[in-house]
Symmetry: C2
Subunit: 191 residues, 2 copies
């Protein structure tokens, strides 16, 4: 997506070879016009997949995913990051390791919001090792629902997440694929 | 706002006299069409206030506030809930007590996203005792910016938050004001 790549080059910061800071337009300050265009782009790319729900992970995925859900005219389900295990019948949880923070959390879903007839599009801001996306997939598939794709704003293509998801047969659509962040320089993979 | 009140009556659950559960359309599962209408409603109510930024608190406020920012064509700033104090020059923090969870957190802002020329509209999902809103006001005013109003989806009018904010001179606009939640019954204040 050209608009996103241009914005990353203009306002993103390669803090080191693994960290791209985008908190001036995605994570902390948010440009709602860009978020709407991202939502429309995902809606367009997955237009023929019969999507019934969009799912994201709190909290950086919420802004782009709610515009995706709006553009597709379906509900959004926000998976919560809980620090504790919740022992209730209607709650489903799976442990996810956070690569950036070096901690674990319980990704949490109230089962009544995903059912076996759902066709789910997962949206998240970053894809690195894919731990969060795979946790979301586990929760969704445990409900008997189908994951039709994973939409990512920024993929760190030098990490293993994309391959791990594709190897398991999932469609991954990344709007910007970063090849290299060395020396403060941001380099994209060719489309 | 009639659409929100009708939805609360249809899909909200008064768990006890203090807790209204709205996780089927606001907090966990999100109805993006309702969020867009809420955003347009706030944009309309604060149309003459020269708003330059919308500010919300992660994570339940993000969906309605990003549509508000979109409708007003300004940026959204998401205040983060940090568990620790961050000692960096560009970071501003203030302690907030969470009424629902019985814990405290550091409400966190990167100072570069609010400046003294900003006229800020704060948007949040719930107003109870107003601790989070007052924390947001402290961070915004410490930057020399002006808070032009506080927009709330659901106000627990039987708690002290609205009065505390109005007593300090702030404009509060609540789209649904709950008078009473006793006996599983949801009663609104008259407009």
């Amino acid at each position: 997506m050209r608009e996103l790549k241009e914005r990353i080059l203009k306002d993103g910061q390669a803090l080191n070879e693994a960290v791209l800071k985008v908190d001036s337009f995605i994570n902390h300050q948010v440009d709602p016009n860009l978020m709407e265009n991202i939502g429309k782009t995902f809606a367009d790319k997955f237009a023929d997949d019969g999507v019934t729900k969009v799912v994201t992970i709190e909290s950086s995925g919420i802004a782009p995913s709610v515009f995706t859900a709006k553009a597709m005219n379906v509900k959004l389900v926000i998976l919560k990051k809980s620090t504790s295990k919740i022992l209730e019948d209607n709650i489903s949880q799976t442990e996810v390791a956070s690569y950036t923070k070096g901690t674990e959390y319980q990704l949490t879903l109230n089962k009544k919001y995903i059912n076996r007839n759902d066709r789910v599009l997962i949206i998240d801001d970053f894809l690195a090792r894919g731990e969060a996306a795979q946790g979301a997939i586990r929760l969704i598939e445990a409900q008997g629902a189908e994951v039709v794709g994973v939409g990512i704003l920024i993929e760190k293509a030098f990490q293993s997440g994309n391959k791990a998801l594709r190897d398991k047969g999932y469609t991954v659509c990344s709007l910007a694929r970063i090849k290299n962040l060395s020396d403060g320089h941001i380099e994209f993979l060719e489309d």
